[in-house]
């Protein structure tokens, strides 16, 4: 069974203090790894898809990287508007459904 573990559960940052979120996964064969952002009371917003080890994607202050066992979401010089819960999910080659982690809640203080 596919497993996704995100750490830490919560992260409090000062504005401008860069940090990284971790997503460790176990899957028989990786079809794709996905990052989402979720604001309180709203649906997840799609951020990135990573398909193979070594791949990197960037969007504004966010950068996602992928290895064979984990993915990192790097937040560079965060701003208060980056405060949200970040979800990681994997899709295996022999399945049709995403397996989600529990998420990391990021709070950025001004």
């Amino acid at each position: 069974e596919d497993q996704v573990t995100q750490s830490p559960e919560a992260l409090r940052l000062q504005e401008g203090e860069s940090s990284s979120l971790n997503c460790s996964y176990t899957v028989s064969g990786l079809r794709g790894l996905f990052w989402y952002r979720q604001d309180p009371g709203k649906g997840p917003e799609f951020l990135f898809t990573l398909y193979s080890a070594g791949e990197e994607k960037e969007k504004e202050r966010l950068k996602a990287t992928l290895t064979k066992k984990e993915s990192f979401l790097h937040i560079t010089a965060p701003k208060p508007e980056d405060s949200a819960t970040y979800l990681c999910a994997v899709l295996s080659t022999n399945d049709y459904k995403l397996s989600f982690g529990a998420g990391t809640t990021v709070t950025v203080r001004a």
């Binding site: 996905f34 989402y36 649906g43 799609f46 898809t49 459904k97 995403l98």
Partner: protein, 110 residues
């Protein structure tokens, strides 16, 4: 561009009452459609998956059911709600690997 709608946004229902949540997608044809539930502090749990009209796969045996009467309409129902049905219900669509989520429905069963 594609848009996904869910209603109602919030719902408070007594135990034993029926349920009907609706999801519609605009701007695409033949999407895969999904119903998820998100409990507080937990990951997303896939409830139902549909690849076409009248084609529903159930992931979790429970007192919920789903129907897809039209290509871009997905309905989540229950004949009798339980306290444990409380949660945040999310509809999602996809054409390939990435899934795109709606705004969600907050259901409280009292």
């Amino acid at each position: 561009s594609q848009t996904i709608h869910q209603w109602p946004a919030t719902l408070v229902q007594p135990v034993g009452s029926p349920l009907s949540l609706e999801c519609t997608v605009e701007g695409t044809s033949n999407p895969n459609l999904y119903w998820y539930r998100q409990a507080a502090g937990r990951g997303l749990q896939l409830l139902f998956y549909s690849v076409g009209i009248g084609q529903i796969s159930s992931e979790v045996p429970q007192n919920l059911s789903a129907s897809r009467p039209q290509d871009r309409q997905f309905i989540l129902s229950s004949k009798k709600l339980l306290l444990s049905d409380s949660g945040f219900y999310l509809c999602a669509w996809s054409l390939s690997y990435e899934q795109y989520f709606g705004p969600g429905t907050r259901l409280t069963v009292t």
